[in-house]
Symmetry: C4
Subunit: 233 residues, 4 copies
């Protein structure tokens, strides 16, 4: 008998399998999830299962409190972080977490990735935010749950909208990206890695590299995402 | 019934498909075009179509004013830049735009790529020019059209010939390359990326690395492109 | 007739073949070994045989004094180092030596790889140790044997347990990793290379990058390896 | 009818085809040659022919004065450099020239590649020499012929033996490697690229990285190449 969640299980499986193909994960260092808003659940990768051995039926279904609803395996150790974001950010349809090399290296520096060019501005109008590491009590407490709040708190502090900025670095840890669909979240992870790589190269050529001027930021973002967008079909 | 532009459509398709194979584009971040001078048109990639899904019949035909002549899809958002260059640079047969990693990182620094070795001098005798970012009025105006003029203005200011220097970085944006044929334009994009990468490595090993001496610049360029060239068959 | 050591020969062959697949070795620059504790021997790659030509029957069996027990080929020139580690570290089941690019570059600097993020803390709670180069008498003496002692001496000096820290850089030389099984040792080599690469990027972005805070180190290590670990199946 | 030089033509073809497979050449940026000492000739890649289109019958046979003996195509533009080295270095059986990325980046800096680790010492006991750029008269004269002399002059100045040191960077240009056989020359090109890459990483982590101590240099070189060598079968 088919699972009532067959559709998000398969979408979740496909999204997870894209991560190693895009060069974004080594071994088990990442996970993708897909929400079914009407059912109030999401599908997520099981913990510690290598991509080469992952099967669609291994995908775990959990609710927005991170309680397992269906599945024989333990869900990703990062499940609570996904759950918090789905619970409070109601238009998120998919979330991806990786330890992709350049984005993670920036996260280790605790620095935002500065907006230096149109490749970046095609996707967001601000530096890629890096949330500071949590205080010790949060780390020792409900860690993965707190990671979700750390992300949301950073967005509130900066007054960013999760619908406009679909990525963050968690300081000393690694990136999380999201989107209306999991396909967009996967895309955002790959874009973030490339933007992180280009910024790495630019700041090591020229440490005082200037930030992209505002007119270019607005132009590139608006032509792709604005009300008069003319990019794409 | 076959299109009257079948030949340039296929050449354009082939050129675009080479870009991901050469590692020069991620997702949809690039486009190649091919001119038919006798017909006064060029073929260009449709906007936002992933390479994996691109088909020859998707290619759009536009004239040198960037008006669509044939095709069911919207042409690349960079079409006006291509159109301006074809209109004013009469011996250009193909143009390629990418966001290749190292070339784009240099563009983000707003620095020319210094000529440091014979790999560079085999292809051009000057630093790879980086045009400054446009002023705000140009950006807010007819942006992609102005990008073409920004490129041409930079060549005039430097007194460069587009037939000798077949590449430029648009500051804060990314590279454009061209050639008598689109095959040459694609080749130039790959060469530019490699030259950008080597220069990156050299300046990070030795920030005061000296520019290539003039005798070597002339020797390498002339043996490949001069009247007494003896490179190739 | 089958060898009494067929099982570790095959495991050793498989482990060695993974090294080029994981991008950790060029030509013959690496070797993996597998111990059979009950028989008091280990299987190791023959010296100087390219991976493309390696066959399971080429694997050499030696005892913990590095004396050949079975095999037609000369064992790896690093055999004595493996033998010392197996002899004194009784729970080691497999050892891998590579010259993987980033780890070896750190070894050349004679610096420990600083713990900067959770990717590192998921695997060990301390900087990746770099043992100092040996003194000249040891180098001129029984070099590969002394390399094993140099590794153990460094662990004693730092008060590290080989069961908790399963990797080291030998200064000016290259990494060694180990584990309860050879699969774990191979895994550790790949993790080390990625950790070395991320640390390289972080320190070149920000030379004064801070060390990971202790609460995060403990949290990430314990959730994967502690008594209440909840990572994996 | 088969060529009298069939054997070196095929060896030359195979060696050239390995260069792109090892990631050492882009487009036509490299060439390998193979000497037949008894016939006083060598086989070399034709000029400007892409590797994807190269066929064994395209290989050109020239003598040690660089005069074509057999072949329908023009030989590599670097043929005179190969010819000089074959003429004066009588035990060289194969030569390879590439513009591999890291080695060429070092050549652009005009710096020797410092010996920093055992990966380097396994192959040579000195820094990889970088010959200075030639003076203008030599460049404007018989350039490729002079390049061969520049290499030999640098070896004489440093008192290096071409049989012990089988590689050089030509300042501002790119590497040349050689060996008793062309297989060894190809191997040396790949080793040089990896050594160049590791040294790049080490000097950018730690600009004052110390040179490898002499005892380690001698130990690693001698165990592979000395009279009591015990590396390999």
């Amino acid at each position: 008998m088919k699972s009532a969640y067959q559709s998000i299980k398969e979408a979740c499986y496909e999204a997870n399998m894209q991560l190693p193909q895009l060069g974004l994960v080594l071994f088990t260092f990442g996970n993708a999830s897909v929400a079914d808003r009407s059912a109030g659940v999401f599908a997520i990768k099981p913990s510690g299962v290598p991509y080469a051995m992952l099967k669609p039926e291994d995908i775990v279904i959990v609710d927005f409190e991170a309680v397992v609803v269906e599945g024989n395996k333990r869900p990703s150790s990062d499940t609570k972080t996904h759950a918090v974001l789905y619970k409070y950010w109601e238009n998120v349809g998919g979330i991806v977490h990786t330890h992709s090399t350049y984005a993670t290296a920036w996260a280790q520096t605790q620095l935002d990735i500065p907006i230096l060019g149109t490749t970046h501005a095609d996707h967001l109008t601000v530096d890629v935010p890096c949330a500071p590491p949590m205080d010790d009590a949060m780390i020792k407490g409900n860690y993965e749950h707190e990671t979700g709040f750390q992300i949301m708190t950073d967005f509130k502090r900066r007054n960013y909208s999760y619908e406009e900025v679909e990525m963050i670095l968690v300081g000393n840890h690694a990136p999380f990206t999201w989107g209306k669909s999991v396909e967009k979240a996967v895309y955002n992870s790959a874009v973030l890695e490339e933007v992180a790589r280009m910024a790495y190269l630019s700041v090591t050529i020229r440490p005082d590299v200037p930030r992209l001027k505002d007119a270019l930021i607005q132009k590139h973002y608006q032509r792709k995402h604005g009300t008069d967008a003319y990019y794409g079909q």
